[in-house]
């Protein structure tokens, strides 16, 4: 294959983001210390341009770079989630990193690099490009986690994340190498073809699947690979916690769906049970440990673990319904999780951290608006109609029931009821108790815009789910 202009055209959104990030590195040098916000606004512009590019290129399904990279509806859908989450995270950061005293241009640039890693992941149809995309994303996020460099917790979180992350990458690579050894290719569709041809299941492949599940399980914080999540979520700057609880998780699910439902579909009998057990344990651990948390970021970490469990159920269900339900879930999760972290960021001002759950006592009496936003996002996370969170869970459970996993669906509903307790507890504190302190909001136009987008998304998907579900269904990959 020689140099091909098609490659350049169809990877244009990635090129725009990467080239834009490089230009911003140069621009960062000439800006004064108090002007770094400009880099933030330019990142927003880059995201919008890339988004437009992705939409223009979306219609056909084109495989480029020697069948390593595909531009199709599925990757477009996920890229939209990445653009959305990065856009909101940048909006929330502009004011927040000033308050935290870490206003550096590299912050936004690393976010763009992380986003381009996710874009590569969502478009990859080869284990090799999946892996390099994953590393680009992960490395940028390790750095962002430790960005509050004067803060011990932030350092500790970054350290833990990078060591465990490197370890999980090693495990993932070992799994990939076993798959390559058994099939002689890393291209997903080719792997599926060879596995179909080989017929009986090789025991070595089971080992490979276990390693792949462990490696990807770490990235989505599925139990028992979740240990990093609470510490990292707590230690990272809140805007980064918001970003990494949404973007990387969606990217990892995009990859997991492709790898398992495309490449490993012929041997689905060997991994379905494993994933089912994993998802039940993940939901249970996430929901139950979250009950006893006193720090809201730790609680949301466990909540995000539980949500990964629900999304894994969509993988168990498989098929068009399963894929579409996970895609929709990720979109909804992006809106509501960005929203809840956005409100936490809104309350962070001066010395007030707003990280203890008790800090929210009586918020409704002092500031109606912020309290109402918290209410909507918490209800959505708990899965209470008419918010979007309900729709996300509903379609996942429906796809499970349709494929005959009724008992799994029942367990998931029970877990979802348990998890409602810790979300509602915060609502109780906000609305039923008398305030013990003054609340001073860190208002800014950017913050408000982010929260407005998040709240509109959460409510619109809750009211008009059919349109979004159709959009997801029309975008699934052939598998």
């Amino acid at each position: 294959m020689n140099f091909n202009i098609v490659n350049v055209i169809f990877s244009m959104p990635e090129i725009i983001v990467l080239a834009g990030a490089c230009l911003l590195i140069l621009l960062d040098l000439v800006l004064y210390k108090n002007q770094k916000g400009i880099i933030g606004y330019l990142s927003l512009l880059i995201i919008l341009i890339a988004g437009a590019g992705t939409l223009i290129l979306s219609s056909p399904s084109v495989e480029i770079f020697d069948r390593m990279f595909v531009v199709d509806g599925y990757s477009t859908f996920f890229k939209m989630i990445f653009y959305l989450s990065t856009f909101l995270a940048v909006l929330l950061s502009i004011n927040y990193i000033k308050i935290e005293g870490v206003e550096y241009g590299e912050y936004y640039i690393l976010m763009l690099f992380a986003m381009s890693g996710m874009m590569v992941m969502a478009s990859s149809i080869d284990l090799l490009s999946i892996y390099v995309g994953l590393e680009l994303m992960a490395l940028s996020i390790y750095i962002l986690t430790g960005f509050k460099q004067y803060n011990g917790r932030s350092n500790e979180a970054a350290m833990k994340y990078v060591i465990l992350g490197a370890f999980s990458s090693g495990i993932l690579l070992y799994g990939i190498s076993l798959v390559y050894g058994l099939t002689g290719t890393t291209q997903l569709a080719d792997i599926a073809g060879i596995l179909k041809q080989q017929g009986n299941l090789d025991i070595g492949l089971v080992l490979a699947i276990i390693f792949l599940i462990a490696g990807f399980g770490f990235k989505v914080a599925a139990v028992p690979f979740h240990m990093w999540a609470p510490d990292v979520y707590e230690g990272a700057p809140t805007s980064i916690t918001a970003f990494m609880s949404v973007g990387p998780k969606a990217a990892s699910f995009a990859v997991i769906l492709r790898v398992f439902l495309e490449a490993l579909q012929p041997v689905s009998a060997s991994w379905t049970t494993l994933i089912a057990i994993l998802s039940v344990v993940t939901m249970a651990t996430g929901s139950i440990i979250a009950l006893s948390q006193t720090n809201i970021k730790r609680m949301l970490a466990y909540s995000s673990i539980a949500h990964a469990g629900y999304a894994l159920l969509g993988l168990v269900a498989g098929g068009a319904d399963g894929i579409a339900s996970v895609m929709l879930y990720m979109l909804i999760y992006a809106f509501m999780n960005m929203g809840i972290f956005g409100t936490i960021i809104l309350l962070r001002k001066g010395d007030f951290k707003a990280e203890d759950i008790e800090d929210y006592t009586g918020l409704a009496k002092v500031n109606r608006g912020a309290a109402f936003l918290m209410l909507i996002f918490l209800f959505s996370l708990a899965g209470i109609p008419p918010t979007a969170g309900f729709i996300g869970k509903f379609y996942i459970f429906m796809s499970l029931i349709k494929t005959g996993y009724v008992s799994l669906a029942i367990i998931a509903v029970i877990m979802s009821v348990i998890s409602a307790y810790f979300y509602i507890r915060i609502v109780m504190l906000i609305y039923m108790k008398e305030p013990v302190r003054e609340f001073d909001l860190a208002r800014s136009p950017a913050n408000s815009l982010a929260l407005i987008i998040a709240v509109i998304g959460t409510i619109i998907i809750g009211i008009l789910p059919a349109w979004f579900l159709e959009m997801a269904k029309s975008a699934i990959f052939p598998g």
Binding site: C22, F69, V120, L139, Q149, G204
Partner: protein, 167 residues
């Protein structure tokens, strides 16, 4: 046959030195074991008909990276940071569990098709610079470009996290 004997020598030495890396209490010994491990890897690359990769492995890892490791260790004087607090005697159950897992993995792999796969003799690869370069800039151009950005991010990360001006 001779090739297999050499493979086992290199493989056993590589695994042994890798275990040594994590078991020594003195970090300098660990780094030296890591050097042994990397040299064995280079030997394995030679056996896989990739002399160029082997040379790069020796130049980059043994020559540059490990020397940096040694510099850092000697500058920081890690021995003062009490290594015993990281390596305690209480993790025997973990080692036992690991042993069981390793035996299980060996059993699984020995029963799998992987053991009967041989490298095709028809492959006319000489593992030279030309072939690697061609592969990197044609078939593997996408991963190659992404890896270059990974390096850029790593560079930025080192600078950002190492900046002096604290609040």
């Amino acid at each position: 046959m001779a090739e297999q004997i050499f493979f086992f020598i290199f493989a056993v030495l590589a695994v042994g030195s890798a275990i040594a890396v994590v078991s020594f209490k003195n970090p300098v010994y660990s780094v030296l074991s890591l050097m042994v491990c990397f040299l064995q890897m280079a030997a394995l690359f030679v056996m896989l008909r990739s002399p160029f990769l082997a040379v790069v492995q020796v130049f980059v890892y043994v020559g540059a990276v490990l020397v940096l490791f040694l510099f850092v260790i000697m500058m920081l004087d890690i021995r003062k940071a009490r290594m015993d607090q990281f390596i305690t005697g209480g993790n025997f159950w973990a080692i036992g569990l690991l042993g069981i897992l390793i035996i299980e993995m060996i059993l699984i792999i020995s029963k799998s098709r992987l053991t009967s796969i041989t490298v095709s003799s028809e492959l006319r690869l000489d593992g030279g610079v030309r072939e690697i370069g061609e592969a990197l800039f044609t078939k593997y151009i996408l991963p190659f470009e992404i890896v270059s950005f990974i390096l850029l991010v790593a560079l930025m990360g080192a600078i950002v996290l190492g900046r002096k001006e604290l609040r």
